[in-house]
């Protein structure tokens, strides 16, 4: 990767590694995140996502390698880094027995925000989270979406230039997730850099650039489009038909089809050769009296890429190991 003007770089790491008792959680990874970018960090459970985030946030010292966050060194300037970044984890570090306002006041205290700034920031957070009618409510009674936005607000009180989000939408319903991403875009529009990990592949599509980590190694890096072109050698056929469940079972057995998965209400068939597979699928569905409404080549979804990448890394099903 060509590192452009270093002033435009929010995060850069060079050969960053972390070992725990001989176990390598993160293995010499390299990447850069530009200012104002949404950088998605993907990978299966235990691949090293959280370890990387913790090193970048100055919570965990790296074993080796270099890293800079907001121009500060992650070895020597860990305390300064904490003032430049906001961090929000999937556990939403809110006090459930405090009210919305009390939580905000607490985090303002932590970040030593001045009295008059606080008033402005508090209103901003409450409005952003849509909590105007709930400022006196206990955090415990808020729904997941609200809590998530409040946690985001608290992480933003000190106006950090880089925001780290560790699986921020885990366990939140689709509508809240959409609203959350609207907020994220609003923030990047103001120049905030966002570094986010997620399990949801549709969310990964929203990122400007992605890094995929597997077994501690960075196995792919690029925009969603680049990843789809580079790593998806096979073709994806979308099959829309009746009885998708039954169709899946019969298509699965075709030699021309490498893999078939249910995506919403249609099937994605990963095929080495589109033409042969097209014919084979049409044939097998009519043999089984399943009405086919559409069969066409589509650009693959990121989930297809993710799965095929990880399977290519070997032992797809044996991705065991401690959560990193």
């Amino acid at each position: 990767m060509h590192s452009s003007n270093p002033r435009n770089i929010a995060v850069s790491v060079h050969n960053l590694s972390k070992q725990f008792d001989g176990f390598t959680a993160v293995d010499r990874i390299n990447f850069e995140v530009k200012k104002g970018e949404i950088f998605g960090f993907l990978g299966p459970n235990g691949a090293g996502k959280s370890t990387t985030i913790r090193m970048l946030c100055g919570i965990l010292p790296p074993t080796s390698g270099e890293g800079k966050v907001a121009g500060l060194d992650i070895h020597t300037q860990r305390e300064q880094i904490k003032w430049q970044i906001g961090y929000m984890s999937q556990k939403f570090s809110l006090y459930e027995d405090l009210t919305v306002e009390e939580n905000i006041n607490f985090y303002s205290g932590i970040y030593q925000i001045e009295e008059d700034t606080l008033r402005r920031r508090k209103e901003w957070v409450i409005e952003m989270a849509g909590l105007q009618r709930h400022r006196g409510s206990l955090t415990r009674v808020l729904s997941g979406g609200w809590r998530q936005r409040l946690a985001l607000g608290c992480a933003l009180l000190h106006e950090p230039s880089i925001l780290f989000l560790d699986e921020p939408t885990s366990g939140v319903d689709p509508i809240s997730r959409r609203q959350f991403w609207d907020l994220i875009y609003e923030l990047t529009g103001r120049g905030v850099t966002v570094f986010v990990t997620t399990h949801y592949m549709d969310e990964a599509e929203y990122c400007d650039r992605l890094g995929m980590i597997y077994d501690g190694k960075l196995v792919a890096l690029g925009t969603p489009e680049e990843l789809k072109k580079e790593f998806m050698k096979e073709t994806v056929l979308e099959v829309s038909c009746e009885q998708p469940m039954k169709a899946m079972a019969v298509i699965q057995n075709l030699a021309a089809v490498k893999e078939v998965t249910l995506f919403g209400n249609h099937l994605h068939a990963v095929v080495p050769d589109a033409r042969t597979a097209h014919k084979a699928i049409q044939l097998v569905l009519s043999e089984n009296a399943i009405k086919l409404s559409r069969l066409e080549k589509i650009s693959p979804a990121l989930e297809d890429v993710f799965v095929s990448l990880i399977e290519a890394q070997g032992k797809a099903t044996a991705t065991g190991g401690e959560g990193a």
């Binding site: 409005e127 875009y185 969603p224 209400n265």
Partner: protein, 313 residues
Amino acid sequence: MSAIRAEGLTKRFGDVTAVDQLSLEVAEGEIFGLVGPDGAGKTTTMRLLTGIMDASSGDGWVFGRSVIRESEAIKDDIGYMSQRFGLYHDLTVLENIRFYADIYGVPRRQCEQKIDELLELSNLAPFKDRRAGNLSGGMKQKLGLSCALIHTPRVLFLDEPTNGVDPLYRREFWRILYQLQRQKVTVFVSTAYLDEAERCFRVGFLHEGKLIACDTPANIKKLLNGQVLELRFSNARQAAALLREDRPESSVGLFGDRVHMLTQDPERDLNQARSVVAKSHLELLSSRVIDPGLEDVFISVLKKDAGGTHAFE
């Protein structure tokens, strides 16, 4: 006889009604999905139907036996996996499974065979001596499932089993569920993922404790008034924002790198969309009318209820 039936099932906590007059029926051998946002009452419904929590009013039946009056009798018929999987982290995979086998009184002769079968099904055989606490999220989930299946239950209740699990494991998990379904096991699964709901035979939409729709995914989609236009742009996010601005009353949703637009007249709206984005120098890459997904329905049905939508507006 239906595998699961509920009639006016209601649960109140103080003055909060968590589950409100819920009635539904699940046929034997079905995969039924209970879908709804966080806090809609999915977990409470699960607990009521498994007889581990008493309803305030109404009743439910599992294979004709009341979950209130015969909550003991139904226990051999049901397997339940709670959100936290119910595993002992200091016990190994095998010890966890054996414990539940003893608790359910699985005959010893069948026991070993059943355990092998489950380890094979869940691909956990190589890890059988690993402590549960040292398993990854996806593996814990499969172990939890194995424990819930040890006594060969007729109905399986799974409370948000794939929450926080990566796509690879989710696929594998569903593969296992279909395998069970083929063995005539009835599966009652709750989820917040709408793409998972599509995989169910029938789906119940739970919202604020009420079942607002309950049908096959195909029939639920008929509730959607109009067609769905799928558009791909050079910048989907920006395009979606422009389209929303242009037509605030319409339903425009972003699905990964695609924009879904609910429309009565695809032809006209496509042209309009093209001209709207052209002003901002965005390019329309492709367009087609697609079958709507459950998420399209969900968003159009619940849009008004979702609270403050766009905070910066």
